[in-house]
Amino acid sequence: MTTKTVRNVHVRTTINGQEMEFLVPPYMSLLDALREVVGLTGTKEGCNDGNCGACTVDLDGRIVDSCLVLAPEAEGKEVNTIEGMATPQGLHPLQQAFLEEAALQCGICTPGFLVAAKGLLDNEPDPDEHRIRHWLAGNLCRCTGYDKIVRAVEKAAKA
């Protein structure tokens, strides 16, 4: 009963606009696949049970906790992570606003917050403070007290 008793699964998916294929154990989370197999370590593990949002990625246009997605579930889907947020032309307005508003301290929750906030602004360009706080309630930050994060999202929405 070693971990090798099940065969690896072949997954074909699009990550940050790039089609790619990889092999993973079927029980591996999308989070671990991104970090350990694909090599994108920007998505963070904070709790591994869907309560901190540090592993937030965009899966076919919806934000999800990648720790609660099995890697094989990504088959045929589009995954967008923090690494795909900036373009060669520059930072996303949210990233710029986070820097200008000092919306990060240790930075471990920052990728999750940015991906989550992008999920909001992509669909609701002008959310009020309460809506931002509600949308981001699945992302824990222990350093900032959220104030500057909320302000940065408001600023990016106006940008």
Partner: protein, 761 residues
């Protein structure tokens, strides 16, 4: 001799809000944290942990695990050096070696659920996790004591049979009380006789966790020369080196510790947990070994802040003066001695000038993880007690809560209850700023129409801050940019605040000083990022290094100009001749002309600062309480704090806001909820309820600047003060809203309803 400085009013870089140097890496996911480390040949390890809060370990059989395909090495306490009876210095004074070693890998007893019994290195994480399930441990479970009352009961199970308690200098054995200390000033009994009102209350507080989002991690490689390289998320690479070397009984220089980015610490990432285990497993497997805790491990087996009991008695006269005060503080040390109770003694009456005081403190071992520092360790608990009692006194006497505090406020020359006399401090200015704040002057909105009751609370708090050792190296690049190498890991923007202090001296912009956090072989000894010390002490080292750099640059200018160095003047980034107005070069220009003047221009600054100058904060909260459910929401919150001088005000505000919110979580919901068997029931972020963004308003900030005379720019530590006042601030606001005074944390909804029912019956 401590140098003192006259505050300057005008700065070029200090007080501005540049984008932090490490910011781009952190908003793009490029920054490498401890768990992101990858090494050729790297394997994973995981640890088997005790399910029992207290048990004798009768046997550990790892053979099944070792035979699992993919398993490379197994470690138990037998792999730790055996140094019975030895004391070892792990950086926070000497400690009993066996206890320190046992906390990493338990030898004879498990003292808390989550205590590591053995560990396995395997080809991947899942195999390591599967392998530890195959380790057979025979336990003899013992009764557990998980709080102060249980641990001090006559029939309490004794955790450490070799513990000799120190009861005011008397040795005690067969006890869980590790230490009992006392401070006395004046004559409190006589003092109380002069009082017209005495209020005494006892507060019970549950253990809480720092709750950083990044779990502990360590990667270690033990090479052929018996040198160990460690990559980890830590508050201090040098302390990791010292602790790991001490625990493995090796010379420190055999270890090289590289600090990665760190996802929060708040004091909890000072002790080592995984590093020695990963190192042993690396030695046995020949591979780099990586360990990452899961969230349950973090809660169960890292260093939370002590719960306990705090009794405070304060007496006042009719003139509104505090005449006498006493306190008895009992803290849960966790499984081994050494809670923050000593720090609590220093904080309990720190805000006030009181002629007669007595403080008794007790450090008590319990079957919980060994407590560690958590942001102003010990101060929030005692501030909860003192500031609640002060609030009650003001209510009973009908005194204005700020006027009363102003009248009794500690100031320069006041003797703190535990002895030291204050230098220039800013409590009075902070109280005055609170009195003038928009929040304090805004009338409390009437109760909302949904049945909720609204109230406002205020409380003060203190942290002494620390100085300690820091080193900074600077070198000048040809384009005028200065490289700054420091040993302080950056948890919340200190690269920027340290670089800005060097830039201020050198006449450069913030981005022209490029800070790098280095490993233990690339910079001089630097203490932890803790005690609110980095901006203060490492900033001070940067100031010294920058001045030394400017002196060296003066020599080069003198050489270029063919004049005597004493004729070179340096100000605002410009080197000039005191005699020839034609000769002047900006730092950047001079940097480009160094080619033939004697090689690289480098400098060093290092400090060991005994004093730091304390900091004070005053918080104001408005809450809405639903009297039917007890649900409490903070609707408005203001933090007023003396920062000495805010180097990067945005990050000072961030510290004030973050500390306040951790305190709000502590006040309302956070706790170690222990089952009867001594196991923590709520070891997840689901049930260890830290505030979410939806639980909070914006946190208003008012930075007061009373320059710290012993820092070149007047800096005071700012990180810790803001977690001291919130517990009492929220408690006082709840009292104002619904008329009941909670004598416990967390002030859970159910407890508020219960208190209201008791009040009404």
């Amino acid at each position: 001799m401590v140098a003192t400085f006259e505050p300057k009013q005008e700065y070029r870089v200090i007080g501005t809000r540049p984008i932090r140097h490490d910011g781009y890496d952190k908003v793009t996911g490029r920054a490498i944290y401890g768990a992101d480390v990858k090494m050729p040949g790297m394997v994973w390890a995981d640890a088997l942990r005790s399910p029992h809060a207290h048990a004798i370990i009768k046997s550990v059989d790892t053979s099944e695990a070792e035979s699992l395909p993919g398993v490379l090495a197994v470690a138990t306490a037998a792999d730790m050096p055996a140094l019975e009876g030895k004391e070892v210095d792990l950086g926070e004074g000497t400690v009993n070696f066996k206890w320190a070693s046992d906390n990493i890998l338990a030898s004879d007893k498990a003292l808390y659920a989550g205590h590591v019994i053995a560990a396995v290195a395997a080809i991947d994480r899942n195999t390591a996790q599967e392998a530890i399930k195959r380790i057979e441990v025979e336990y003899e479970p013992l009764p557990s004591a998980t709080n102060v009352a249980e641990a001090l009961a006559d029939d309490a199970p004794v955790l450490l049979l070799d513990l000799q308690g120190n009861d005011l200098g008397e040795k005690v054995s067969n006890t869980n009380m590790a230490a009992h200390n006392r401070h006395e000033l004046g004559n409190p009994e006589k003092g109380f006789e002069q009082c017209s009102l005495i209020v005494e209350r006892e507060f019970t507080m549950q253990m809480v966790h720092q709750g950083y989002i990044e779990p502990h991690n360590a990667t270690a490689f033990w090479d052929e020369e018996d040198r160990i390289r460690i990559w980890t998320s830590t508050q201090g690479a040098f302390p990791v080196r010292k602790q790991t070397a001490g625990l493995l009984d090796l010379d420190e220089s055999r270890l090289k510790v590289t600090p990665l980015e760190i996802g929060g610490g708040f004091g909890g990432k000072i002790p080592v947990y995984l590093e020695p285990i990963a190192a042993i497993l690396s030695r046995k497997s020949g591979r780099p070994v990586k360990m990452v805790m899961d969230r349950k491990n973090v809660f169960e087996a890292t260093g939370p802040a002590p719960g306990g009991k705090v009794r405070v008695k304060i007496g006042v006269d009719d003139n509104g003066k505090i005449i006498a005060a006493t306190s008895d503080i009992y803290f849960e040390a966790g499984a081994y001695p050494g809670s923050a109770v000593g720090a609590a003694e220093q904080c309990v009456f720190a805000c006030y000038d009181i002629p007669h005081t007595r403080i008794d403190s007790y450090d008590v071992v319990v079957n919980k993880p060994k407590s560690a520092a958590y942001r102003a360790p010990g101060s929030p608990q005692v501030a909860m007690a003192t500031e609640s009692v002060v609030d009650e006194i003001c209510e009973k006497k009908g005194w204005d809560k700020i006027d009363f505090r102003l009248k009794n406020a500690a100031k320069e020359g006041t003797r703190r209850a535990d002895g030291p006399i204050y230098p220039r401090i800013g409590l009075i200015e902070t109280l005055e700023a609170s009195q003038k704040s928009p929040h304090w002057n805004a009338p409390l909105d009437p109760d909302p129409d949904n049945g909720r009751k609204r109230g406002r609370g205020i409380a003060a708090g203190y942290w002494f801050n620390v100085g300690l050792k820091s080193a900074v190296n600077l070198s000048v690049n040809e384009d005028g940019v200065v490289s700054l190498v420091e040993g302080s890991t950056d948890i919340g923007g200190t690269r920027a605040s340290v670089a800005m202090q060097a830039a201020e001296v050198l006449g450069l912009e913030a981005h022209e000083v490029r800070p790098v956090v280095a490993d233990t072989e690339s910079i001089g000894y630097t203490d932890v990022t803790g005690g609110s010390r980095v901006c203060y002490a490492t900033g001070y080292a940067a100031f010294i290094a920058a001045n030394n750099l400017a002196d060296e640059m003066k020599k080069r200018a003198a050489m270029l100009w063919g004049i005597d160095v004493s004729d070179v003047h340096f100000q605002d980034g410009v080197f000039s001749s005191k005699t020839d107005p034609e000769l002047n070069l900006h730092f950047r220009e001079l940097a480009g002309k160094l080619g033939d003047t004697g090689g690289a221009v480098t400098s060093t600054g290092s400090v060991d600062l005994e004093d730091a100058g304390g900091g004070f904060g005053v918080h104001i909260a408005d809450v809405d309480v639903d009297p039917e459910t007890g649900k409490t929401d903070v609707t408005r919150y203001t933090v007023v704090q003396d920062a000495g001088k805010a180097i990067h005000p945005a990050y000072v505000e961030g510290q004030m806001q973050g500390g306040a919110v951790q305190g709000i979580g502590w006040a309302l919901n956070e706790e170690y909820y222990m089952e009867n068997d001594g196991v923590m029931a709520n070891s997840t972020f689901l049930d260890y309820r830290m505030p979410t963004s939806l639980d909070l308003p914006n946190i208003e900030t008012i930075i007061v600047e009373v320059p710290n005379p012993i820092h070149p720019f007047g800096v005071r530590g700012v990180g810790e003060v803001p977690i001291a006042p919130p517990l009492a601030t929220v408690a006082n606001a709840i009292h104002d809203a619904v008329g009941v005074r909670l004598l416990e944390t967390p002030m859970k909804a159910g407890n508020i309803v219960e208190a209201l029912e008791k009040e009404n019956s």
